[in-house]
């Protein structure tokens, strides 16, 4: 039976570097995709990914297993992404019904797309950042609405609404609705 994430993080906090290796192996790919799909540049995404893990390393002494490790990890990732967006002059005001932060997929272009995956990827990129983040946290991080609310520093209603809007837009883009 494998040790839970929280136990591994506590072991790393106490100096066991091997515990971090296991923890990193479990979450590296998901967090990497979450970050890279939250930004448009692969290079920036890789920098952010590395910086997020460095923040995890630096914050290990303050870690207490009050919530799932995944929630803690994606909270750090969210905060770092917010810092990144703020540096770039982007505002994160996209809440329910906010259509100004993202470019809605052009139905004509989407219809012309040859592959549904490209369409889906475009729709995902077209989502407002907070809605996309909520969706990615849900899909990649496997976070619940409550955990998304914790990770993004909002309430459950807002998290649920973001996720619902994101799902609706993606379904509309894919023609599934």
């Amino acid at each position: 039976m494998e040790a839970p994430d929280e136990q591994l993080m506590l072991a790393y906090r106490d100096g066991d570097a091997a515990a971090f290796e296991k923890l990193y192996a479990r979450h590296r790919a998901r967090l990497y995709r979450f970050v890279l799909r939250s930004v448009k540049s692969r290079a920036i995404g890789e920098d952010l990914f590395q910086e997020i893990w460095l923040r995890v390393i630096e914050a290990r002494g303050r870690y207490t297993p009050q919530a799932r490790f995944t929630t803690w990890l994606y909270t750090i990732a969210h905060n770092h992404l917010v810092d990144h967006w703020r540096k770039r002059g982007l505002t994160l005001v996209a809440l329910e019904g906010d259509e100004t932060q993202g470019t809605s997929p052009d139905p004509a272009e989407q219809a012309q797309a040859r592959q549904s995956l490209e369409r889906f990827a475009a729709a995902l990129q077209a989502l407002p950042p907070l809605q996309r983040e909520a969706f990615l946290l849900h899909e990649e991080g496997e976070l619940s609405v409550a955990e998304i609310a914790v990770a993004t520093g909002t309430n459950e209603e807002a998290a649920k609404s973001r996720l619902r809007y994101a799902t609706a837009k993606l379904k509309a883009a894919m023609g599934d609705d």
Binding site: R33, E46, L117, H138
Partner: protein
């Protein structure tokens, strides 16, 4: 929250490009994690392969503590080995009885100091003014005397008498603890009326040296006592012996006045 997940969207999402960090990126992060773990030692007992560190450290501390204790035990002088009668007698003699007196002539001819391997016994006597540092001072002077086999002011004893000399030094050390008050009185008397008698560069106080000579005399080792007295006269040519002390170190009774 599973009710919010759309299976079709999830499937579409899973079909996206399977992104993964590069090996170089993994290495950078893991190196940083290892470096951070190495910088900050764990505050709790480590598990697994790091557990033996604590056992080794505990054993090292115990060995060190035992070694220090044994060392201190060996270096501590045995208070029961001192002759209580001699100490009491010495204390009575020295208390207020050191007076300026004319220097007596050397009782015997000086013998050549040609044995550098024997350390000068005077260097082993503790400083009566600082009895707490007697052990340290003894070690330091022992080293110094080993490095300098012959004193420029006093001849060294012959090696055949080294054992007896060490015994005398040990006795003098024990007795010197009780000489503190007497020596202070003698110093005060000397500074008040007599010229300065004790050279500050000589490690052993003249009172301790004289006591050692008196001990040798009382044990019947007159040759050693004579030799030491000659050396003492060379080191302290202007030291004034009291009548009582002169009787003890010279072995001749004082004529009644």
């Amino acid at each position: 929250m599973t009710e919010e997940r759309d299976p079709k969207l999830s499937r579409h999402y899973r079909e996206l490009e399977p992104l993964e960090p590069s090996a170089e990126l993994d290495r950078k992060i893991l190196d940083a994690a290892h470096a951070a773990a190495a910088r900050h030692a764990p505050l709790v007992t480590p598990a697994g392969r790091h557990r033996w560190y604590y056992g080794l450290a505990t054993a090292a501390v115990l060995v060190f503590a035992v070694a220090v204790t044994l060392h201190m035990e060996r270096e501590r002088p045995d208070p029961e080995a001192a002759a209580p009668g001699a100490a009491l007698r010495l204390e009575r003699e020295l208390r207020g009885q050191i007076k300026p007196a004319p220097q007596p002539a050397a009782p015997s001819e000086p013998k050549p100091a040609a044995k550098p391997e024997a350390p000068p016994p005077v260097a082993f006597a503790p400083d009566p003014q600082s009895p707490r540092e007697s052990g340290t001072a003894r070690e330091a002077t022992h080293d110094a005397s080993s490095a300098q086999p012959s004193s420029p002011t006093r001849p060294a004893p012959e090696p055949a008498r080294a054992t007896a000399s060490r015994q005398a030094r040990s006795d003098a050390m024990r007795l010197s603890q009780k000489q503190i008050g007497a020596e202070r009185a003698a110093t005060a008397a000397t500074s008040a009326g007599a010229p300065a008698a004790v050279p500050s560069a000589v490690p052993e106080k003249p009172e301790a040296w004289l006591e050692r000579i008196a001990e040798l005399r009382s044990r019947g080792r007159h040759a050693d006592a004579d030799r030491e007295l000659v050396a003492f006269r060379r080191a302290y040519p202007d030291y004034r012996l009291s009548d009582l002390m002169r009787e003890r170190v010279e072995g001749t009774p004082i004529p009644s006045r």
